[in-house]
C-alpha cells in the first residue's frame, strides 16, 4: 500500500487545524474548571466526559491518528476498552461489598478514623 509523503499535513490547513485544536483544548479545560463547582456526581461525570473529548482530540489531531490506517486506531480502541473493563470490574467489588457491623467495644469504624502522625 503506497502513500505519498504526507504533504497534506505540511500545508497551511494543517497548521490551522493545530491552532484551532489547541484553542478548543484550552476552552475545554477552562470549561471543566468552571463546572467543577457543581454537585459531585454531575461534576465527576462532566469532567470525565470533557477529559475524554480532549484526549480524543489530542489523539486524532495532534497525534495524527485520523490519518493513520485502521490498525493503529484499533490498538488504542482495544487498550482503552480494556482499561475501562479493568476499572469497572475492579470497582464493582468495593462498591458492592456488604459492610460488616462494627465490633462492639471498638470505638473506631472503617473509613472515618482520624489519623495521627
Amino acid at each position: 500500500m503506497s502513500r505519498a509523503p504526507r504533504a497534506h499535513g505540511a500545508d497551511r490547513r494543517g497548521l490551522v487545524t493545530y491552532l484551532v485544536t489547541y484553542l478548543i483544548l484550552l476552552a475545554l479545560a477552562t470549561l471543566a474548571l468552571l463546572l467543577s463547582g457543581l454537585p459531585d456526581a454531575l461534576a465527576v461525570t462532566l469532567s470525565l466526559v470533557i477529559a475524554v473529548v480532549k484526549a480524543v482530540m489530542v489523539l486524532m489531531l495532534f497525534m495524527h491518528l485520523r490519518e493513520e490506517r485502521f490498525s493503529y486506531r484499533y490498538v488504542m480502541v482495544v487498550s482503552t476498552l480494556l482499561v475501562v473493563v479493568f476499572i469497572s470490574l475492579t470497582t464493582v467489588d468495593p462498591l458492592s461489598r456488604a459492610p460488616y457491623a462494627p465490633t462492639p467495644g471498638l470505638n473506631r469504624s472503617y473509613g472515618s478514623q482520624q489519623v495521627t502522625p
Binding site: 487498550s79 480494556l82 470490574l89 475492579t90 464493582v92
Partner: protein
C-alpha cells in the same frame, strides 16, 4: 545462483544448487558476532540457553522443597527456608522460564520464517529484549542470593510490604523482566502486521503465528500492570507508604485485583504458544490440513480476549463482594469453550490423516491427556462453591501444574524436538526421544495426580508441615518429581548430544508443508534468498513437497 534454463526450480535443484548460503550458525564467527547479533535465529538460540538454565534452577528449588515434604515435620530445612524455596520456585519458573520459553525461543526463531520475512520488525529491540531479560534475571537472582523473599510468587500484601526478607531486588528484577516481555510482544505484533510476505493474507497465517500474535497482545497489554503492581509493593516495602496496609486505610484486595489482572492473562501467555506448537505438530504428523483452520486461529484470539476478563476467580475467598465473584465466575466459564474447540479440532485433524508416529506426536498425546485433565479441573476450581473448598490447597497446585507442566512444558519439549532439525541441522535419537517423552509423562502423573487427592483431602498449599496421614501422597509426589526431573534432563540431553553427534537432517524431515521447512536446515542468515510470493496456505498437504515449493518461490 544459476538454475537450468526454462525449467521451474524444483526442491532438488535448490538443494543441489552451487554455493548454498552459509547457515546462520556459521555466517559470522566469533563470540562478539553472537553478542551483537541482530539475527532473530541467533537471539532465539541465546534465549534457549538462558531459559534452559532457568528451568534447571527452578527445578532444583522444587526438588529441594519436595525433599523437605517427604516427612510431616522437619526433614532437611527449617520453615523459613521452605517458604523461600517455594517462592523462588514460582518466581523463577513463571518469569524466568515459562513466560519467555516458547515465544522467545521458538517464536523468535520460527515466526519470521513462517511469515516469509527476513527478520523481525525491530531486530535491535529483539536483542535488547534478550539483554533486558538477562538483567532482570540477574537482579532477581541477586535478590535470591541475598536471602530472597518468602511471600510466595504472588507477593500478597500486607505481608509483602512488611516481610523482613529481601523483597525489593526480587520485585525490581520481575519489573525489568516485564520490560523484556513487552519488547518481545511489541516486536511480534508489529512483525505480523507489517512484514508478511506477498500473498500471505491473515487467513493463510500459520497457526503458530496466530498463537504467538494472540500471546503478544497479552504480553503488551497485561505486563505493564504487573510491572506497576510489583514496583508499588517494592516501593512500599522500602518506603513504607502503606498503599495496601490496612493500618493506614489500605485495601490488600486491591493489590490482588492489580496483580491478577496480569497474572491470569499470564497463564494464557504460557499456554497459547504451547497450543500453537501443537497446532503445527498435529497437521505435520497427520499429514493433512487442520480440521478447521478458523476454529484454531480464532479460538487463539478468543482465549486472549476472555483471558483478560476472568482474573477475579483467583480471589473468590479473598473478600471480594459476592456480586463481583459471581461476575468473574460466569466469565471464567467461557475460556473453556475456546480451549475445547482447539482440543476437538486437533483430534479431528488426526482423523483420516496419514499419521506418522514420532517423538513430537507422542508429546502431543501426553499434552492432550494432561491439558484436558488440567483444563477441566480449571473449570472445577472456577466454580465458586467448589473453590471455597479447594482454594489454597494442593488441588489448585495440581490444577495449574497440569496445565503449565503437563500442557506448556510438554509442548515446549515437543517444540524442542519438532524444530530441532530445522534449528541445528541435526537429528536426535528417536528411541531416546520416545523413551524420555514417556518418562516425562509418567513422572509428571506420579508427581501431580496425588496432589489432587491431597488438596481435596484438605492439605493446604505452601505448608511446611502436615498431619502424618498425608505423608504417603507426598512421598509419591516427591518420587514423581525426581523422575520428572530426570526425564526432562534425559530429553534435553538427547538434544544436546545430538547437536554434535546426531546425523545431518534434511530440509524437511517431517514432510511438512509449513513454510519454515522450505528453508535449509539450519536456515541461512537471511532466511530466504528470494522473498517468498505465496500462492498457497501452510497446510496444503494435497500438494507434493515440490509443488508446495514452487508455489512459494515462483520464478
Amino acid at each position: 545462483m544459476t538454475l537450468p534454463a526454462f525449467k521451474q526450480p524444483t526442491a532438488e535443484a535448490y538443494d543441489q544448487a552451487a554455493e548454498p548460503m552459509p547457515s546462520y550458525l556459521l555466517a559470522q564467527t566469533g563470540f562478539s558476532s553472537w553478542l551483537n547479533t541482530r539475527d532473530h535465529k541467533r537471539i532465539g538460540v541465546m534465549f534457549y540457553v538462558a531459559v534452559l538454565v532457568s528451568l534447571m534452577l527452578g527445578g532444583v528449588f522444587a526438588l529441594l522443597f519436595r525433599l523437605e515434604l517427604l516427612t510431616p515435620s522437619r526433614t532437611i530445612m527449617d520453615a523459613v527456608t521452605y517458604n523461600r524455596l517455594f517462592t523462588w520456585h514460582g518466581i523463577v519458573m513463571v518469569w524466568l522460564f515459562l513466560i519467555p520459553s516458547i515465544p522467545n525461543i521458538f517464536g523468535n526463531f520460527i515466526l519470521p520464517i513462517q511469515i516469509g520475512a527476513r527478520d523481525l520488525a525491530f531486530p535491535k529491540l529483539n536483542l535488547a529484549s534478550f539483554y533486558v531479560y538477562l538483567l532482570g534475571a540477574a537482579i532477581v537472582l541477586t535478590g535470591l542470593m541475598l536471602g530472597g523473599t518468602d511471600t510466595g510468587w504472588t507477593f500478597y500484601t500486607p505481608y509483602s510490604e512488611s516481610t523482613p526478607t529481601t523483597l525489593f531486588p526480587v520485585v525490581f528484577g520481575v519489573f525489568v523482566l516485564g520490560i523484556s516481555s513487552i519488547f518481545t510482544g511489541l516486536n511480534f505484533i508489529a512483525t505480523v502486521h507489517m512484514l508478511r510476505a506477498q500473498g500471505l493474507h491473515w487467513n493463510r497465517l500459520p497457526l503458530f503465528v496466530w498463537s504467538i500474535y494472540a500471546t503478544s497482545i497479552i504480553l503488551v497489554l497485561a505486563t505493564p500492570v504487573l510491572g506497576l503492581s510489583v514496583i508499588l509493593v517494592g516501593i512500599d516495602h522500602v518506603f513504607h507508604l502503606g498503599l495496601f496496609d490496612p493500618n493506614v486505610g489500605g485495601d490488600p484486595v486491591l493489590f490482588q485485583h492489580l496483580f491478577w489482572f496480569y497474572s491470569h492473562p499470564a497463564v494464557y501467555i504460557m499456554i497459547l504458544p504451547a497450543m500453537g506448537v501443537i497446532s503445527e505438530i498435529v497437521p505435520s504428523f497427520a499429514h493433512r490440513s487442520p480440521a478447521s483452520y478458523n476454529a484454531i486461529a480464532l479460538s487463539s484470539l478468543g482465549i486472549a480476549f476472555i483471558g483478560f476478563l476472568t482474573w477475579g476467580h483467583h480471589m473468590f475467598v479473598a473478600g471480594i463482594s459476592t456480586l463481583d465473584a459471581g461476575i468473574f465466575g460466569i466469565l471464567s466459564m467461557f475460556v473453556a469453550i475456546f480451549s475445547a474447540v482447539k482440543v476437538f479440532t486437533w483430534t479431528a485433524t488426526l482423523y483420516q490423516g496419514e499419521i506418522v508416529f514420532s517423538t513430537p506426536l507422542l508429546y502431543f498425546f501426553g499434552f492432550l491427556f494432561l491439558f484436558i485433565f488440567g483444563g477441566m479441573t480449571g473449570v472445577a476450581v472456577a466454580t465458586q462453591s467448589l473453590d471455597v473448598h479447594w482454594h489454597d490447597t494442593y488441588f489448585v497446585v495440581a490444577h495449574f501444574h497440569f496445565v503449565m507442566v503437563g500442557g506448556s512444558v510438554t509442548s515446549f519439549l515437543a517444540a524442542a524436538h519438532y524444530w530441532f532439525p530445522k534449528m541445528f541441522g541435526r537429528m536426535y535419537s528417536e528411541r531416546v526421544g520416545l523413551l524420555s517423552a514417556t518418562a516425562v509423562f509418567i513422572g509428571f502423573v506420579l508427581t501431580f495426580l496425588p496432589q489432587f487427592l491431597l488438596g481435596n483431602a484438605g492439605m493446604p498449599r505452601r505448608y511446611y508441615s502436615y498431619p502424618p496421614e498425608y505423608q504417603w501422597l507426598h512421598v509419591l509426589a516427591t518420587g514423581g518429581a525426581f523422575l520428572l526431573g530426570g526425564s526432562v534432563i534425559l530429553a534435553l540431553g538427547n538434544l544436546l548430544v545430538s547437536l554434535r553427534y546426531g546425523p545431518p537432517a534434511g530440509r524437511n524431515p517431517w514432510d511438512s508443508r509449513s513454510f519454515e521447512w522450505l528453508t535449509e536446515s539450519p536456515p541461512p542468515a537471511h532466511n530466504f534468498e528470494q522473498p517468498p510470493q505465496l500462492d498457497r496456505g501452510a497446510y496444503d498437504y494435497q500438494l507434493t513437497d515440490e509443488e508446495a515449493y514452487v508455489r512459494t518461490f515462483p520464478r
